[in-house]
């Protein structure tokens, strides 16, 4: 197990600076998620950890030792690639055995460990098959077994669930999480799917264009998003963003006024759909679409200031398409951002439900 540290790490490909300056500490045994939109440098960061890419600047530390120059094969890192990257010409057994070949593990012990790893991810009956004879979910488990068989000090998962169907994704999420808890291995999960990140990771590192936007627990990111980017990236259905004005610590939006410490100038008010409710006052509009989501109903409302989404508990709709409605909110649930810097104003965040 290892404690990982990025110190001013830079990564360039030719003239393109993909990671300008990355600083990050991952504690021993922690499960963190690198979350961000496609192309923001998540895989690049992961590959630097694996030793596949060499940082262009800064220092990468494992347990306090600089490993910038240490070769991938000497790092004892297990990695599951987005495509699983199983070796197509080898049986599942040989795939899982592959990392042990280079460790000069005695044959009997190696086979025992393969068996153990295969049991762990429940692919023991597939050992004789070729990867092409496995389903996506099975390939994924094999890739996990191969990453785990060498008992890595660091486990890296690059979008491990993105090629699975929705049901499988749900069960693999649980499985990977409990596996990580059982083994206690430091784990970095790369994903562009906020639900994956919030459900699995202890801490989330939200990235945008190569920079870390915010680091925090899933709750931190949801209730106290540091920036407009994080607020709109986290949460499904997405947060409603409404332009407002502030003066001397008072925010005015659509006629409603409420105090927010330090607010002045143009602000953007973020309102989560589940914090809005239909009432006698507030934003007026009419319902253009109703999306039942199981235990909740999502109403898409067209108002004078744009589309607003409202989430209501319950499994049957209490309103109809075309109906005129007014949408109200409580100030304590509003996230107020400075429009100019896109940053959250201190003193404006959603309070965790009691």
């Amino acid at each position: 197990m290892a404690k990982i540290e990025f110190r001013n790490v830079v990564k360039r490909f030719g003239d393109v600076e993909v990671i300008p300056d990355m600083n990050l500490v991952i504690e021993d045994g922690e499960f963190v998620a690198l979350l961000g939109p496609s192309g923001c440098g998540k895989s690049t960061s992961l590959f630097m950890l694996a030793g596949i890419y060499v940082p262009s600047g800064g220092e990468l530390l494992f347990d306090g030792h600089v490993v910038n120059e240490v070769e991938a094969r000497d790092r004892n890192v297990g990695i599951v690639f987005q495509s699983y990257a199983l070796y197509p010409h080898m049986s599942v057994r040989d795939n899982i055995l592959f990392p042990l070949r280079f460790k000069k593990t005695p044959r009997d012990e190696a086979l025992g460990r393969v068996k153990g790893a295969a049991d762990l991810v429940r692919v023991a009956e597939l050992l004789e098959r070729k990867p092409s004879e496995l389903s996506g979910g099975q390939q994924q488990r094999v890739a996990l077994a191969r990453a785990l068989v060498k008992e890595p000090q660091l486990l890296l998962l690059d979008e491990p669930l993105s090629n699975l169907d929705a049901t499988l994704r749900l069960s693999m999420r649980t499985e990977i999480k409990s596996l990580q808890e059982k083994l206690g291995v430091t784990t970095v999960l790369v994903t562009h799917d906020q639900i994956e990140a919030t459900t699995m990771a202890d801490r989330i590192i939200c990235m945008r264009a190569g920079r870390i936007e915010q680091i925090g627990t899933p709750d931190d990111l949801y209730l106290r998003p540091a920036s407009l980017f994080v607020a709109s990236f986290i949460g499904s259905p997405p947060i409603n963003l409404i332009a407002g004005e502030a003066q001397g610590g008072t925010v005015a939006v659509n006629g409603a006024k409420f105090p927010v410490e330090g607010a002045s100038g143009a602000v953007t008010v973020g309102l989560r759909p589940e914090h809005l409710r239909f009432g006698d006052s507030g934003f007026t509009g009419h319902i253009v679409q109703i999306e039942p989501m199981g235990r909740e109903i999502l109403y898409v409302v067209e108002t004078g200031i744009g589309i607003i989404r409202v989430l209501e508990q319950g499994s049957s709709a209490t309103h109809a398409t075309g109906e005129k409605v007014k949408i109200g909110f409580s100030p304590e649930n509003s996230l107020v951002f400075e429009t100019a810097h896109q940053k959250l104003l201190p003193g404006a965040h959603v309070h965790a439900p009691a």
Partner: protein
Amino acid sequence: MAVKATPAVFSAPEPVVDWDVLAARARGLRRAKAVVLYAFLIAVSLPIILPYFWLVTIAFSAKTGVAETAVLWRSMAVVVPTVIALWLAAAFAQSRRQMWIGMGAVAAVAAFAFALLVGPDLHIGNFIFLWEPDFASVVRSRIGEVKGAVQFPNVWHAFGNSILIAGTQTAIVVTVASLAAYSLSRFQFPGRSAMLRSLLVLHAFPVLTLIVPMFLMLYWIGLLDTLFGVILVLVAFELPFAIFIMKGFFDAVPWDIEMSALTDGASRRQAFLSVVLPQVRNGILAIAVFTFIRGWEEYIFVFTFLIRNTNWTMSLYMYWVRDDVMGVDYGVVSAVGVFYLVPSLILYLAAQRYLMQMSIGGVKG
């Protein structure tokens, strides 16, 4: 409140569609297409099959000094209907099983007819060169002439030379092309794209234009009239295309599995050997087969650069046999031809399964 749109009501009667007529028309069209296709296949396959068939028939039936063509016509009377019947069997079979039964029946009938019409004329006397190095004199003496003009080496010697040239050339081309193509596919280095472009340009020129300079070069480095000299020339001409083909194969191997091997503890070389190379197996097999056959059938360069008859390859042997005994005994010439053909045939048959499925087997997601 939401206003429901009333669906438009169509009062016009629907036109009557006769599905059977449509189906019959589609069936007829498919039949017609199949007939045209098979007619075309018969038309192109006959001219290819016939010469080879004649070659074999002549090799096993012609007699010294006798210019007799009746057996050829009789064999043709068997082959042409057989080829047509085979295609028809393929065309009209409703299932794979029927096709095999039909083809089997055609083959059985053809074999019987062949044994009846051509069988009595068959013999292996024309393959005399396999056990009699001075066969030319023997053949000539049969018609009264005393001696052949050409001093022939043992045919097995020429056979060995050909195997040596084709085999060595193949080994070198496969090794160098794999390594070069891997580097071109994976690494960025100055001059990479220029190199890629020149690979294609090199292949575009007719190699014969270089025959005089090559001759001089070989002469000056002292490799004229050596097998190794010819091998070098052949390798040089074969490499660009082989590299190009192999680069395509390497390009199709995902980076992931290589990176994965590296994190699994392999060195770059181990990753190449144990993970990347097996993915391009079909490509290696393809260039190996084609390079070998190219070396096996090589004629111009060996004709120009090899002089001593102990350096003769099968193509030179064939050439001189034709030159020396053609007028006397075309049966022997054909027999040498058949002997020359057999290794290529065996190689193709052995590798055919892999050449047919020349694609990369990746892992599906």
